[in-house]
């Protein structure tokens, strides 16, 4: 199967609605490889890049650990800190899988985040572009694609 390159822009409107409804402070929607699809709240490209890389690593670790311990991948993660909470969700959108990292404080809650995640999943499924619309992604182009997506999200800063 040909994996197509990750396009940005199509998920911005559903993400904005999710962030507003669920009172999220930071959110990044990404491909499991760590390629960013949409983001909210981050001011620097490097922060998004780091958040995506770490989230992809957490997801891969949970997959591997779950398969080893429970014969099935662990899905999703929630961490409750003293001030902020972090939620990492897997979302089946169209024929693919995306990861969503959400950071929130006491203005929201895990229940609220899960509630609006379901709505976001539906909205993304309705707006996801067809895979044929995107050029094939090649491993050697990973960094170039990553940089072009970040440039698209942050302008030319």
């Amino acid at each position: 199967m040909i994996r197509h390159s990750i396009m940005v822009g199509w998920a911005d409107a559903p993400m904005k609605r999710y962030v507003d409804d669920a009172r999220i402070q930071l959110a990044v929607l990404m491909h499991p490889s760590g390629q960013v699809v949409a983001q909210h709240g981050f001011q620097k490209k490097l922060d998004v890049q780091t958040a995506c890389a770490l989230s992809a690593a957490i997801n891969a670790t949970a997959d591997g650990l779950g398969t080893m311990i429970d014969h099935a991948p662990f899905r999703g993660m929630h961490y409750a800190g003293a001030e902020r909470q972090l939620h990492l969700a897997q979302m089946h959108v169209g024929t693919g899988l995306l990861l969503l990292l959400s950071v929130f404080d006491r203005e929201s809650s895990l229940g609220i985040v899960q509630l609006y995640l379901d709505e976001l999943r539906g909205s993304l499924s309705a707006t996801v572009p067809s895979e044929e619309d995107a050029p094939p992604a090649l491993a050697e182009d990973f960094e170039r694609d990553l940089n072009s997506n970040l440039a698209a999200l942050f302008g030319k800063r």
Binding site: R106, S108, S109, L110, G111, I112, Q114, L115
Partner: protein, 113 residues
Amino acid sequence: MSQFTPVITAVTKHRGVQAALVVAEEDGIVVDGTAHVGVGTNAFAALTASLYRKASRGAGAAGFGTVSYFELEAERGRVMAAGRNGLVIIAVAEPRVNVGLLRVELVRAAESL
């Protein structure tokens, strides 16, 4: 059967109650409860716990102390909640419910949380 079954049963037995849920105040996640078919328990739990938290913060900011009970009246039903020790017991009811009796039941139930 959980430790919350008796309080949930006591609330549910009132005529017109459609759902009775014990919910974590901070997370808005259902701990235990029962509901009629068609009641979106997760949505009710998350949104009502959020309202309860905000009411508590509002009461705290106004210097009124802790919130023990609140009620939301809508065109076709009522949502009533009472909380203690990080838990909230929520009742979703039809307009015909006996509000006074259910309120007493919820406050009593909250004391056992």
